[in-house]
Symmetry: D2
Subunit: 284 residues, 4 copies
């Protein structure tokens, strides 16, 4: 699938009259052909995503900031721009459960995830072979209660040296420290195997089984300091019945986890997700 070269602007600021007019005038003034524009009001907050064709756009993306800054200042905007040519760099953290990893690597290879994957970090050696099949460097970093701080510092070092933009926890069974999380605010995506806020914490499928729910779910969210409480990006569910033993719940859940996580990553890559308090706005 050949993609157009585009730029995407994400904006958050206090709502004010003239915002949309100001932004679109600026873009039109530089000959932009707007492909998509979407906005949302959350209380007094204004959030916008606007994507335009770079063909014919008269401003090099590298000079965008300098020209846009006066408008941004006038309206008190938080903003960022991405262009489709500079691919985001994603790291994957994984433990022994490899279904999400395998799924992501195939999606990446088949062109569905438009990003670089400079490295995979595993705390079990088992997933090295699939990483190597897809030609992605794999780093084994053992994590134990004793060496946690040291392990994290090695992980962070790897992230830095590889210029990583964001981290995906693909069923990574370790809790990251508050310090780690704060360094990658809104840039760590986790997949939790329940329909949050139901069954947050450990062993959600076992607890879903015990409670006798008729649907099980999965939730992709940005990681915050408080476990399983970060802004939700995507969720989905599947029907289960009394016939499903815990093993079947886990098996059905794997399909959910793969799909929900990959959707969240795709939206993150396409700059569709804006965090707004403890919630997300996902522009579709």
């Amino acid at each position: 699938m050949r993609r157009k070269k585009t730029a995407t602007l994400l904006i958050t600021c206090q709502d004010r009259k003239g915002l949309v007019a100001g932004i679109s005038e600026f873009l039109f003034g530089h000959n932009a052909n707007i492909l998509h524009a979407d906005q949302h009001q959350d209380g007094t907050l204004f959030l916008m995503r606007i994507e335009w064709d770079l063909e014919g756009f008269s401003l090099p993306v590298s000079e965008f900031a300098r020209h846009f800054e006066p408008i941004a200042r006038k309206f008190g905007m938080q903003w960022r721009i991405s262009d489709s040519d500079s691919k985001k760099r994603m790291a994957i953290f994984v433990s022994r459960y490899d279904h999400c990893l395998v799924d992501l690597l195939y999606r990446h290879k088949s062109g569905e995830l438009d990003c670089e994957i400079p490295l995979i970090i595993g705390n079990h050696p088992d997933t090295e072979s699939i990483a190597s099949f897809y030609g992605i460097p794999f780093h084994f970093v053992a994590v134990s209660p004793e060496n946690k701080q040291e392990a994290e510092s090695r992980q962070q070092d790897l992230l830095k040296r590889n210029g990583i933009d964001f981290v995906v926890l693909a069923r990574y069974m370790q809790v990251l420290s508050a310090d780690f999380v704060s360094k990658y605010k809104d840039r760590i995506i986790n997949i939790h195997h329940s329909f949050l806020p139901a069954f947050h914490g450990a062993k959600p499928y076992h607890r879903a089984f015990e409670r006798g729910v008729k649907l099980i779910g999965a939730t992709a969210h940005y990681v915050t300091e408080i476990l399983d409480e970060g802004p939700i990006i995507e969720q989905d569910v599947i029907r289960v019945s009394h016939r499903d033993a815990i093993e079947e719940l886990i098996q059905k859940g794997r399909d959910l986890e793969k799909i929900v996580l990959s959707r969240a990553i795709r939206w993150h890559l396409e700059n569709r997700v804006l965090v707004c308090g403890n919630k997300t706005v996902v522009f579709d």
Copy 2:
């Protein structure tokens, strides 16, 4: 839709070899044509539902118990039989939110719910007109913290005098006392407007909105002493987004509530639901 005259037997007991053979021999011995049979093992527990055509069955339903008792005793069964000719008698409790009530009354009239509705009990007078449109007696019983016990005794009196088999709380905004609940064990069905166990308790749509979930749900369950903790009969969800204000969540939720509650009632009427610990087995 003309329905066959059938009998349905529900059985719970410790699993033992020869159970299925014993039951089917007994039925065959009385010339039953089995239409559906379904069973389930939950640990060491055996649960079964078996439905047969009453045409040609050589045993009057009224004499079934006497003949079946020796088998039931041998295997230590808890069992009950229903025949499709004797319709269950359902009471509906309702407050001001009338969407579930209106939905149930139409389903009843159109033949979808095969039961009697001898009465509706409301703690607001507003729903009397729709009850009267469908020709169902309506009883207004005001409930306040001061008169709760008295109100419940009036309600229970109405239930008794009308030979009520089970009660549906169709968005009835009052908590029934433990005493009331214990008298109708596994015979009070409530609709909760969230995907339990998420957002149990009050104002679930508001809390779903605040948490930023991407799906909202509804749950039909049998009422137990502990609020929103009873055995779940049915659940369903619908997708929401950041565009949905609380009003839209409530509106989307109404459709869920109507459908989930009506399914639970239909299954209860068709003797498809067996309570097993704090879970249900729903034979489909």
Copy 3:
């Protein structure tokens, strides 16, 4: 639910640079506070929906056309404006199956459908009582192969005299003439009881049963001259199994039909639907 007073502008034209800037400048120039704006490119076609708060807007809606016309002409726009104060007038056509009618009347009464319903036209007298319960005038117009033209002219006369904006066929079992349809282009909404294009034409549930599909569906669409071929507004499905006899398919389908039709009507009322060739764009 108190709604803001808003105006909504729907635009279709050939895509050109400066469109969004031109429109938003115009609105900003008249002090509009834009609440939602959404756009779409379909090939070289540009489609837009923009909604703004009428509070503080300096142009009376009645004078909008005169001021906006120069811009519209410049870009070759097809456009229409609606304001939330002038409610659309909807007529409902119905036959003997009354589940969609009953559903729509309740939704209207509870404030979910923000429109006027000046009349219901039925070709069976059975639905008069529910119409009268909700205080909506009911007109019985018998239709037979012999009197079809005459019946349609009586129907059209009723529509005209009541200033009807659009017509809903709520399981109306008659095919309207090409002449009738052409007079209400993109203003007649039908509910078909299958997942179109599967099982177009008659008896879709019977044919779904025979084919052994595992899901059944319903489709709301604008009516065109060619039966069941008009632009699809909304569709949904529900799971069925070998256990479901045709009666159960019909029963499950009723819930689908009600929900799918009511969604389509709501989106039509909120000016979210733009027809584009034989497809629709539904701005959410």
Copy 4:
């Protein structure tokens, strides 16, 4: 997941009183502990699936036929027995689209598909590397209009020499001859990328896009002589909108295809699927 050793009996015959009793008496007589039993009436046809624990069962599976034959003859049964110890042997046919293949190989490796995969047959060489990663022999058989008969005879030869029980067409873009199909009646599973019967034949996503449907689907079915008309085993759908270009439809569809095909295979492996005319009964 450790599985119990079980045997499963599938039965089809004309419905008659005493059938269930006859079968369960026979099993009880040989000390079977029945784990699941399910039955269905389709008109006058009786279909049954019964699974029991082999622990304690007094009859070796190899001698089952001889002992069961008198009962089978008495009731005119078509029947087959499978035991969980003798794994089915599955061949996968694939073209260039490899997403279903990759998905199946991972599910197989992770224990989700309890079968042998003695070989993969591809008419493009591209999928050899993934086959070899999972250690499955890959056979390249080029197919062209000129060599079709010869290619099929080579394929059939491979199937025979490998003792293949059933064939999965994992997006295999060739139509098998009537002769081939007849040799593997109810033993070739295909995945079609639409919600059949909508968009049977070629390029279903393109046609779904043109028709403007709001949901796309996938269908797994047994292959018959008539293209896309065989008995449906499983279907599912996903929501799409005007924002989805054909590429997105294809991408969303891939997830559907993988899940729908893998469910159908799992049910086939677990002896849950009985063909009944041109439909299936799937015992869950």
